[in-house]
Each structure stands twice: as C-alpha cells, then as structure tokens.
C-alpha cells in the first residue's frame, strides 16, 4: 500500500526555483502561534533557544563572578557573608560548567552541524527538543532554588563528606545533584543526536576525510559526553540516595568510601574540560581557515589530535587527587598522561600557526579572538603541565594558582573561540553582521581584562592565597594583587556588555549579511542567512573538503526527495553514499510534556522517594504519546 503511495507522491525534481522553496518552507516550517512554537523540532529553532539560554546563564554566572571579585577586592570586606560566598562560588562554578560551557557548545552544534553536513534536520529532532526543555528546566530549577535560598553551597564538585547529610542537612546538595541529572539527560541526548547526524545524515560525497573540522570536533566531544557523563550520573545518584534513603556509598562507617566520590566525579570532571575545550578547537579551525584564506594545514593531524585528546582525557582524572594519598605508581602514571595530553594540543596549535603563516590573514574580529585564544591557552597549557607534576601540585593545590590555571584553560580554550564563533556565525544565524568596530573594542577589552583579572592569581597562589576563602586579612599582603584582579574582572565584564549591545544593535539595524559574507568554504554558507526551515532546497553533493571554494561556480545537488512529507537523506558511514530517504518527525508537543513530567519526577524525588512511584506513570504516558506515530503524514495516508 505504502509503495503505491510513494510512487504517486510529488518529488522535488518536479518543481523548480521559487515553487520548490515555497513548498519546502511550508512543509518544514515551525507551526505558527504559541503552541506551535512549543512544538518546534527545527534544529535551528532549538539551537537558537539553546544558545540564548546558555548565554543568559553566562550572564548570571558572570554576575556572580563580579560579586566575588567585589568581595575579594580588599581585605576583610563584608560585602558578602561567608555563607553567601559559599553559595555564590558554588553557583558560579555549577552555572558556568553545567549550564553554560557544555550546553553552549552543544547548542552551536545543534544549530550548525546539520547545516555543515548538508542535511535538513538533526537526527531525532524530538529528542533534541526534549533535550532543550530539560536543560531549561534544570537551569531554572537551580536558579530558582538559589533565589529561594536553598541553592547549593558545597562547591561545583560537591565533595563528600561535606555534601553528606551529616554535614549539610539542608536540601542544598539535593538541588545540586538533581540539577546534574537534568543536564546529563540533556547532554547525553544531544550527543547521541550529533553522532547519528554525523554518521548517517552527511551529504552524499562527504567522506570521512571531507568532514569539516568543527563537525569532527563535535563528534569526538559527543563520544566524550557519552562515556564520561554516566560516571557523574552514578555518582550524583549515589549521593542523593545516601541523603534520601540512607544508602552508604560514601559513609566510611558502613564500608563506603569518600574517595569513591572523587574518582567518579573526576572520571567525568576531567573529560568535561575537554568536552568544553574540543568544540572550541573546532571553532578555531573553521575561523582560521576562513580568515587565513586557505584550508587548515595538517587536516589529518588535527583530526588525530582531536581523537588522541579525547582518549587521553580519560586517563587524567587522578591528577585532581594527588594530595589524597594515592599510591606513588598511580601518581606517576597520571602525571605522565597529564603531561602527554599537551602533545596533541600542541600539534593542533602548530597546525594553526602554520596555516596563518602560509595564508593571507584578514584580521577581522573572529580571527582576533582566535589569536587571543592561542596566547591565553598556551599560558594555561603551560601551567597545566606544571600542576600535572606531583611536587608542584602538592605545593599549589587548592590555591589561587589552580584558579588561574583553569580559568586560563577554560576561558582561553573555550570562551575566546566561542566569542570568535559568535562573531563568525552571527551573520548566518541572524542574517545581519555584527559591528566590526564594537567587536574590536570587545576583543581588546576582553583580552586585557582577562589577563589583568587572572594572571595575578598565579602569583597569589604561589604566595599562598587559598581558593574558596571569602576574605583575608590585611597582613597577608594579598590586597594589591586582589584589587588588580578585581579591576581586570570589571573590564572583562564590561567587554561582554559590549557584545550584548552589539548583538541588540545588529539585530535591529546591522548590515545585511548575505549568504556567505566571509567567503567561507563550508556548506552552512551555501544556504541563505538565516537558513530557511528546510536548510537546503536541494541536498548538496560534496566533492571536496572545502566545497564552496572548490565548486564556486555551481553546487552539485541531488534531487528526488519528497515535497509532501519531511524526508532526510541517509548515507553510508564512510563514503556517504545515499542509502535511504527516511522520514523526519513532525513538530510535536510531546517532548515538552515529557520534559515537564520528568521535571516533576526529579524535583518530587528530592522530597520523597515515593515520587519514583507516582512520578513514573506521567512519564510513561507522555513517552507513549511521543512514540505513537499519530499525526505523522506517512501514517495518516
């Protein structure tokens, strides 16, 4: 029956030009109205929401950072109490790691990867929508808790026994642990979507050695998420069970072990750094190639470096535990692996420098942020090699040296490329250019502000200032450097305000971008800015690693996809040979309803274990609603 129906259906080869565009736009568009918007499964809509939400959390986390720097600007200040300071540094770390850094990278991938691989939507669009709602609800849950004075206060790492019921009998660590679960669900869902999109939805001809480097970076990152996040899932579930139903995982009086928490946490926590950093390197490769006006030198080297970094990142977690009294042999092994990971990172940097050297660089704002990244990340990498060494780590452990190091790595390694990426892809997403002049002001203020804020922390750490203290006395001689650091933080914060001004101004009256304002080479620039709901009227065929530079006269495309129902073209894993025209799901409200049911389940289980019983049926009902094919055009025939 369905075969007959397929033969009769209208295909895109029967339509041309405007007719085809209009038809596909109607087919793929997000339904109108409020409820239509809630049902959207367009990866671009979800990706935009993800990006904006993650930046809102950056703003909130940034405000907390400024509050901390105000408190530490001078000795014995009483701007914040010790308790409030504990909450603020916990919220700052948790927000930045779980609600900004990882989600924003995945958000860019959700928006860009389907465009870059030349397909019409991400794999599992409803799961994608669900993932966003879970992220949003988890983030709101954490921040509403904070506003209601039940926010976590035991650090973004929630070490036991500090976070155990005995030492923190409030609900604060439970809020933290459940927030972790929300973000895990969201991140794991996106990682599966990205892997399947890259493996199966690539445009015909996009063989493994023609995949854009950002897509490669997101593929490696997605695998890291899939193999690292289950560890924190087991850890946080065990923590909340210890607190709610009296299990004994971390209770040393009953055979449990507090160090088990650290092993589980850091087995996730160290790959987490690379989950944040690797997408940044992908962004760097894309920006660099475009503005150096040549492909990145050493494409295979960069890919192998990404993969090597991914593998090695699982062998580093114990360097966070050097002062816990582990056996010498283990410490030696983890020192070696921690130092070894500098090699693939270094190889990538040399490839980028060679690309710049051999190219004809055009110094626009995105490239400036990439150059800033190289400087800052190299400094962070060098201090990383220092703390990978047991004797040095023993001296500087839990001092501001470590704070300086990881901010150099994370902000240098991820935020600078990310901001460069905002300037680079904003025209594609918004259809308008950001102001170059404001962008340059932003860069220089950010670069100077960042270094003034964080470089003194190296010295503060070396002269003994511990981290996580809410104040210090005047006789410590830390005041001048702290004041300098706070001034730098203020400049750094102002630089981000400029980005906000720039974005608002450009959305209203920025210059129109056109399809490919930077003359870039990858497929996302082969469609309009912003892209139509269907991404591409016809699926491109890729014959070269830089298709828009190679096929700059006329883009080869395929025809034959349905214009009556949503179809994506599936291709083979290695050679990207077309295999199947598979249906892509229609918009649906069920992912949102499932996320609401899951939220009720998770929040309820903080207060009573019975929530597991009464919270499960609504989840099951919504999942069945989601799974049931009613409303699908194919099933309505």
């Amino acid at each position: 029956m369905s075969i007959v129906a397929e033969q009769r259906e209208l295909r895109d080869d029967a339509l041309n030009g405007l007719q085809l565009s209009t038809r596909l736009e109607n087919l793929w568009r997000t339904p109108s109205g409020f409820f239509g918007a809630l049902a959207s499964v367009d990866h671009k809509v979800v990706g935009r929401r993800y990006i904006v939400t993650a930046f809102v959390f950056l703003l909130l986390g940034g405000v907390l950072a400024v509050l901390m720097r105000v408190q530490l600007a001078g000795p014995e200040k009483t701007f914040l109490s010790a308790d409030k300071y504990d909450q603020i540094f916990t919220m700052h770390g948790s927000t930045m790691m779980f609600l900004f850094a990882v989600p924003v990278m995945e958000a860019f991938a959700v928006y860009l990867v389907p465009l870059m691989v030349g397909t019409r939507n991400i794999a599992f669009p409803r799961l994608n929508a669900f993932s966003y709602w879970m992220f949003l609800f988890g983030g709101c849950f954490l921040w509403i808790s904070f506003m209601l004075n039940v926010g976590p206060d035991v650090g973004w790492f929630a070490y036991v026994p500090l976070s155990s019921l005995q030492y923190t009998p409030t609900k604060r660590p439970d809020v933290w642990a459940q927030m972790i679960t929300f973000t895990e669900v969201a991140a794991l869902a996106v990682s599966v979507e990205i892997v399947v999109t890259v493996f199966k939805l690539r445009a015909p001809g996009m063989t493994l050695d023609r995949i854009p480097l950002f897509v490669w970076a997101m593929l490696v990152t997605s695998f890291l998420v899939m193999f690292a996040m289950p560890s924190i899932m087991v850890a946080s579930t065990s923590l909340i069970l210890d607190r709610l139903v009296n299990t004994r995982f971390y209770d040393s009086s009953s055979g449990g072990h507090p160090l088990l928490w650290q092993h589980l946490f850091w087995f996730f926590g160290h790959p987490e750094v690379y989950i944040i950093f690797i997408p940044g390197t992908g962004m760097v490769s894309m920006i660099l190639a475009t503005f150096a006006r040549r492909p990145v030198i050493g494409y295979p080297v960069v890919i192998l470096s990404l993969i090597a970094t991914g593998f090695l990142s699982f062998g580093l977690w114990v360097h966070h535990m050097f002062v816990t009294g582990l056996p010498q042999l283990g410490a030696g092994l983890f020192t070696a692996s921690s130092m070894l990971i500098a090699v693939p990172s270094g190889l990538q940097i040399f490839c980028w420098l060679a690309t710049l050297w051999d190219g004809r660089p055009v110094y626009r704002t995105p490239l400036l942020f990439v150059l800033g990244f190289i400087v800052i990340f190299v400094i962070g990498g060098l201090s990383g090699v220092m703390v990978a060494s047991v004797p040095i780590d023993t001296q500087v452990h839990d001092t501001y040296f470590v704070v300086a190091h990881f901010h150099y790595v994370l902000i240098g390694g991820a935020v600078f490329p990310l901001i460069g990426a905002v300037y680079y892809w904003f025209p594609k997403i918004a259809g308008r250019m950001l102001s170059e002049r404001l962008g340059r002001w932003h860069f220089w203020l950010a670069f100077v502000g960042f270094n003034v804020a964080f470089f003194p922390m190296h010295i503060l750490g070396l002269i003994g200032m511990p981290r996580r203290v809410y104040t210090y006395t005047a006789d410590m001689d830390w005041a001048h450097l702290n004041l300098l650091s706070s001034a730098g933080a203020a400049i750094f914060a102002i630089s981000f305000a400029l980005l906000l001004v720039n974005a608002i101004h450009s959305l209203r009256s920025g210059a129109l971008a056109g399809d490919n304002p930077w003359d870039a080479s990858t497929l996302e620039w082969a469609t309009t800015s912003p892209p139509p709901p269907q991404n591409f009227d016809r699926i491109p065929i890729v014959k070269h690693r830089d298709p828009l530079w190679f096929d700059n006269e006329s883009l080869p495309v395929v025809a034959g996809l349905s214009v009556e129902r949503r179809e994506v073209l599936m291709t083979s894993l290695a050679e990207a040979e077309p295999q199947v025209r598979e249906a892509s799901p229609e918009p649906s409200i069920w992912p949102l309803l499932t996320a609401i049911a899951t939220t009720v389940f998770f929040i309820g289980s903080i207060f009573t274990p019975w929530a597991v019983l009464w919270g499960t049926p609504p989840m099951a009902v919504t999942l069945i609603g989601w799974f049931w094919p009613s409303g699908s055009k194919e099933d309505e025939e």
Binding site: S2, A123, T247, F249, G255, S554, V558, G560, L561, P578
Partner: protein
C-alpha cells in the same frame, strides 16, 4: 549560488533495516552510554570490594536461584527474539504480532522474577555499602529492563493498529537488537552480583 542536479535519489527506499536505519544508530548510541553506566557501576562495586576487607559486608551472598533463573530465561529469550527479527525482515505481520506478545510476556515474567531477586539479596540498601551498591546495580538494570519491556508492549499494541506500516518492521528489528543488549548487559552483572560475593 547556482545548482546543478547531478543525481536523483527517488528510487531509494523510505526505510531501512539495521545500520541503514536512523533509529538503529540511536539505539547504538543509547546502548553505548547505558553500557558505560553499567561499567561505571561495576567499577564502583569493585572499588568498594577492594577497600573493604570483608565482602559482602555483614550479609550472606544473594540466594542464587532468582538470578540464575533470570539468566536462563534471558538466554532462552534470544530464540523467540531472533525469530521476530526474521519474520520482521519478511514483513510477516501475523508472526510479528505473536512474537511481540511472547516477548512482552517474557519481559513481564522477568520483571516479576526481578522482584524475587531483590527480596533474596539478603541485604537491604541501607545495611552497608555492599547493600547499597548491589541495590543500585540491580535497580539500574531493572530500569533498563522495564523501559525495554514498556517499549515492547507499546510496539506490540502499535502493530495491531492501522500504524502497522511496512517501515514499522524496522522498529521491530531495532527492538530485537535492543533486547539482545539487555540480555548481554545482564550477564556480567549476574556474575558480579551472584558469584563475586562467593569468591
């Protein structure tokens, strides 16, 4: 940008089986992360085993019969499961319906048996770290089992409706694939929970 049509894909099928199907890859992804979850839980068990001089802590090892009976049923379930795989590839709706009912019943029986297994662990979750980790691991696998049984039941119901379209057989084969993973994941857990405490 100008475009040139160089290939027509109209003749391609609208669904595929196994690695040609998107959901199959999705199942692979979830199997990878769930498998990692089990691996981490096993690691936590072995860590607690290593740091405690006596194992199991203050309890007898679990009674063997529920876990062993479950293991046998799991292994035997592969036979009807693989039969569904074959008839689904042949798009034999009648046999697929029967097979899905059989697998649903097997899944429900295993869930009931799982209840006995919890009762025969000979420890409570709050007795010691040993009790906590065995309840956690069994709980994780039970969640895994319950979701797959739920999936099988819904799919079975679906195949009795107008939605039993040809491409739905691909979903059935993906479900078969996932069940094999549920069985495979159980085997190391069975050894860990029922035999390691006897070492």
């Amino acid at each position: 940008m100008r475009q040139t049509i160089v290939r027509n894909v109209a003749e391609l099928p609208t669904y595929g089986y196994g690695p040609r199907s998107g959901p199959w890859w999705g199942a692979m992804g979830f199997m990878a992360l769930e498998g990692m979850g089990f691996a981490i839980a096993i690691g936590a068990y072995l860590y607690l085993y290593a740091v405690n001089p006596n194992w199991p802590i203050g309890a007898a090892p679990p009674d063997l019969w529920p876990g062993t009976a479950e293991t046998i049923i799991y292994l035997l379930s592969i036979i009807p499961n693989e039969m569904i795989n074959r008839v689904a590839h042949r798009q034999d709706l009648a046999r697929v319906r029967i097979g899905l009912i059989v697998m649903s019943l097997i899944g429900i029986a295993l869930l009931v048996l799982r209840g006995f297994e919890f009762a025969h662990l000979n420890t409570r979750w709050d007795n010691s770290a040993y009790g906590s980790i065995v309840w956690l691991i069994l709980g994780l696998h039970t969640t895994h089992l319950a979701t797959d049984v739920g999936d099988t039941v819904v799919l079975a119901v679906l195949m009795f409706t107008r939605h039993a379209k040809p491409r739905r057989f691909s979903d059935v084969t993906d479900n078969v694939f996932y069940w094999n993973f549920v069985v495979l994941a159980w085997l190391p857990l069975y050894v860990l929970l029922d035999w390691v405490p006897r070492l």
